[in-house]
């Protein structure tokens, strides 16, 4: 393989990368079903989620640590909900630390979790498997 061919393939891949990236940043991720719930409170909640490193133990869409449960659809799970979440945030548990959160912080975190819940489903439990190895969510 000549150096010229090597350079050509390299730059060709880089060009594809930039096209692909700009599409992923825009139309690839435009859908946002919970948009109207991303209030200022919820936006603050997102940053608090990072500030207290909730990700170390919790997942959103299965992404994050595994010590605690996935929180994506926590607020709409049967038997759970806002008050239930507040109880955990106020007191912690044997495994979950008590972060001594202020009332405002709890409010923001809950608002954020409400937004997250509207964006989609995780884990996906109802699906059909297609012939090519992909799945269709029901």
């Amino acid at each position: 393989m000549s150096t010229q061919t090597r350079r050509f393939i390299f730059w060709f891949l880089i060009a594809l990368f930039f096209i692909h990236t700009s599409l992923v940043f825009t139309i690839g991720t435009d859908e946002d079903n919970g948009k109207e719930l991303m209030t200022e409170d919820a936006q603050a909640g997102k940053l608090l989620y990072q500030k207290y490193n909730c990700t170390a133990c919790h997942q959103l869409y299965g992404l994050g640590g595994y010590m605690g449960p996935d929180l994506t659809n926590m607020v709409s799970s049967p038997g759970k909900g806002e008050m239930y979440a507040r109880a955990f945030l106020q007191a912690g548990t044997q495994r979950m630390p008590n972060f001594n959160l202020l009332e405002d912080e709890i409010k923001s975190l809950v608002a954020y979790l409400k937004y997250v819940d509207k964006t989609g489903t995780s884990p996906v439990k109802k699906f059909e498997i297609n012939f090519d190895g992909t799945i269709t969510q029901k």
Partner: protein, 446 residues
């Protein structure tokens, strides 16, 4: 005597590795015994573990690249001062990051949990590293061997992906969860790909040096494999986010590209058929032994990665310990073992130290203990993950019920983590002793 900066990076890396694995083992015990070590919560232990082992991968890879470019690549480093500055920036930033974790100051994101401001020195040092590498490499007469391409790619793409990982600072990205997660894992997935470029490049370099066969690094096949790996770095990251509702094509492109890794798998099997006798003959050479082991781990992890890239399998394994097996298998089984090979090569080359027979025995024993416990560790994670996946999706059990069921496997997992730690200490302590003697100019006893 003037000291090599490369070896400074490598020895700091080895220390980071030992401490990082120690934190990891402690974290594993917190998983199964909730009251274990209440003083340092898991919320701190996890980032301590992750950042230290990632630091190890970078320190050892960077140290090698500095030394090898300066000594073996038909080039000289453009600046010998930059590596020293780089080292000190790394050290100081690293200590600040560890302090933040101990104090519970986060604010970043998974894997880069420290406050975002601390990424600035990392950016600066990386730019210096990149300038130095390219200024040096472009002075080389003749074609770059494949490992120099790989290092160049790794350097450029770490910069790009690390920048992407901070796009959350902009509300446009941060305030749409689907975009936020997609971009985060696009960046994270490709970032691992870019450090793999640094590490695999190092593996090829070490093999080329030991066998003194430059063909390995100039052949058409070597370049085809490099481009295949590069395409996977660029486009093959979406198996992390198959269940995130981004546009379908985002996921389909990744699925398709990921499957091209079958070719790499095939190539490994083909190579084994041809090179088994060579491997047997050279198995006594320490770096060779580690590279052979890493080959086996590449095979196992690639097979696993291919499986979990199929959406119908991924839907079960995603968000379970199978993903952890994939991550640990690649970072410990592949990256760490290759980098240990490079560390052996570099340390012996720089210090001219010959390990004694008893040291070699300890290293050999450590090598087997490390690999056997890693295998148990890896299998436990896969077993726990598969069980969790089935319990969540088919049996629809609650979180607490599931954790109770997989706890016995996780106990074995936690103890095998200790085994890995012990094996590692046996491998590393002779190396650290040799570098200590070199750095502090003691007479080396034969």
């Amino acid at each position: 005597m003037k000291k090599e900066t490369g070896i400074l990076f490598v020895s700091l890396g080895l220390i980071a590795l030992v401490v990082g694995i120690l934190f990891g083992s402690l974290g594993a015990f917190q998983f199964v015994y909730p009251d274990f070590l209440k003083e340092i919560s898991f919320v701190k232990l996890r980032p301590l573990h992750v950042s230290l082992v990632v630091a190890w991968i970078f320190l050892c890879a960077i140290g090698g690249i500095y030394y090898y470019t300066n000594t073996y690549c038909g080039t000289k480093l453009w600046s010998e001062k930059i590596p020293k500055i780089h080292f000190w920036i790394f050290m100081v930033t690293g200590i600040l990051i560890l302090c933040c974790y101990f104090m519970g100051k986060f604010g970043g994101r998974e894997y880069w949990e420290f406050p975002a401001i601390l990424s600035i020195p990392i950016f600066i040092s990386w730019i210096l590293f990149g300038i130095n590498y390219f200024k040096s490499a472009f002075k080389k007469v003749g074609n770059w061997p494949v490992y120099m391409w790989m290092w160049a790619t790794g350097i450029v793409f770490f910069f790009i992906t690390f920048s992407e990982s901070y796009l959350w600072l902009l509300p446009y990205f941060r305030n749409n969860l689907i975009r936020d997660l997609t971009v985060q894992w696009k960046s994270g997935g490709a970032m691992v790909g870019s450090w793999n470029m640094l590490v695999y490049g190092t593996a090829i370099f070490v093999m080329t040096r030991i066998t003194e066969d430059e063909k390995i690094a100039q052949s058409r096949l070597a370049f085809l494999m490099y481009f295949l790996g590069f395409a996977n770095l660029l486009f093959g990251w979406a198996h992390h986010i198959y269940i995130v509702p981004s546009a379908i094509w985002v996921r389909m492109i990744s699925y398709f590209i990921s499957m091209t890794e079958l070719l790499i798998l095939g190539k490994i099997i083909w190579n084994w058929k041809n090179s088994l006798s060579d491997a047997k003959r050279n198995f006594h050479i320490l770096p060779v032994r580690f590279i052979v082991a890493s080959d086996v781990w590449v095979f196992l992890n690639l097979a696993l990665a291919l499986l979990i890239s199929v959406p119908a399998i991924n839907v079960y394994t995603h968000g379970t310990h199978v993903t952890v097996a994939h991550a640990m298998g690649s970072t410990i089984g592949i990256n760490t073992i290759i980098l240990l090979a490079s560390a052996f090569f570099l340390i012996t080359d720089v210090t001219k130290h010959e390990f004694t027979i008893s040291q070699k025995k300890i290293i050999t024993m450590g090598f087997w203990i490390f690999n056997i416990f890693l295998l148990i560790f890896w299998l436990c994670l896969i077993a726990a993950g598969i069980e969790k996946g089935i319990l969540v999706i088919d049996d629809k059990l609650t979180f607490q019920e599931i954790m109770e069921k997989i706890n016995p496997i996780l106990i074995v997992f936690a103890f095998s983590g200790l085994g890995i730690f012990v094996g590692l200490i046996m491998i590393i302590s002779p190396m650290l002793k040799a570098t200590y003697n070199y750095l502090f100019q003691k007479e080396i006893k034969p």
